[in-house]
Subunit: 205 residues, 2 copies
DNA sequence: TTAACCATGTAAGGCGTTACATGATTCA
DNA sequence: TGAATCATGTAACGCCTTACATGGTTAA
């Protein structure tokens, strides 16, 4: 359901084609809510059916067309309603901590490999989010620039402040995950030190 | 797919009925991987079909029966293989940070309410995880006690260490979310101070 | 005897993933 | 003329959610 509001958030700055939406999605709101094109196009159609957006076919070249979507009043209302509605939090489902809880069952090597992969996964996310933070500071993210262009000057500070604040939170989360996994590596070292970490775990090796 | 390995992790300590499994699930591994009964029973059947576990019907009272599952060698191997396989990380899909990025669109009151709800959500998780940490320290979680009973003495430290480490990570994550949301409340106060936070957001009110 | 708990599911539907599919346009 | 990119999807499948459904057993 959040996908819908992520798309509305983008369309609030102005009309966009499905393709542009999908491209801009990937480099803006997609950093907090991932969605592939195969999900975006059908969702746009559903949103049009629900009256939240309207699409106009525009010619492109000789034979090509593309559909440019814009928000309706109902769409704007739906977005603002969502903002005032309590979020539904997903139940916890965390594969990394699930595995971490049972690492005694495997070998020290596999445990280390797990933590290294965790670090590298979150370093990737961290880089994305730090990049966004930098682009926010420099107002070099195209969607943010567009948004500021349609925002009254006195509201611009707020607009930037919430984006910065959001990505700061994500950066801290990633740093926390990395620090935790680094402590995990140290823990494996400590536990493996006496050489007693059993070989039973090598069954499937 | 992780559900399967969460169930195998429980069954490694010994045979359990579907019902017991489901009950124990909720108070142990369910803290990191939530699953309702309506998912657990069918998954057990699939796991049986895949040869990872075997179920035996046992009589219960006059007419009742219950199915007691135990792990097969193939199940043990599947679990250990999973331990040595890189995790698949889910793409980011974070409704709270999605909303946070666009809070300038709503009212200060709604923004505050959002952060308060975020705090209360994570305080709930925090309490769960801190409770688990305490039960781990006291070895008063029944599944952990069972597990230690079937674990050679020299491996018990490791078993406890990874559980403690896992829940410490979750506690820190929750604390991070709470701290972030508290800074969010302060940010809303600061931005609302000059009274200029516009009324456009009240459209749908 | 009635409530709590034991015990095990089905059914419908939404969201998301991966893979596949097709054709137009633009620029080098 | 060929590659990149514009443009828009479908199909199949799996996971998860919510709601519903049914009956047996045990202890007060």
């Amino acid at each position: 359901m959040s996908l819908r509001f992520a798309l509305l958030a983008l369309l609030r700055v102005g009309p966009l084609s499905g393709y542009d939406l999908q491209k801009q999605f990937a480099v803006s709101v997609g950093h907090v809510w991932h969605a592939p094109d195969s999900q975006i196009y059908p969702e746009l159609r559903k949103m049009e059916a629900a009256g939240l957006i309207e699409g106009e076919e525009r010619p492109r070249g000789e034979r090509g067309t593309r559909k440019v979507y814009h928000m309706t009043d109902a769409g704007e209302r739906a977005f603002l309603d969502w903002m005032r509605t309590p979020l539904e939090y997903a139940r916890v489902r965390d594969p990394a901590h699930l595995r971490a809880a049972y690492l005694e069952a495997t070998t020290p090597a596999a445990a280390r490999e797990f933590f290294r992969a965790h670090i590298s996964e979150w370093e990737g996310e961290l880089a994305q989010w730090e990049g966004e933070l930098a682009r926010i500071a420099a107002v070099s993210n195209p969607m943010l620039a567009l948004r500021l262009a349609v925002t009254p000057p006195e509201d611009r500070e707020r607009t930037i402040a919430f984006k910065r604040f959001t990505y700061e939170g994500l950066v801290e989360r990633a740093q926390g995950e990395i620090a935790w996994a680094q402590r995990g590596l140290a823990l494996v070292d400590a536990l493996a030190e006496d050489g007693a970490w059993s070989s039973a775990a090598e069954l499937g090796a």
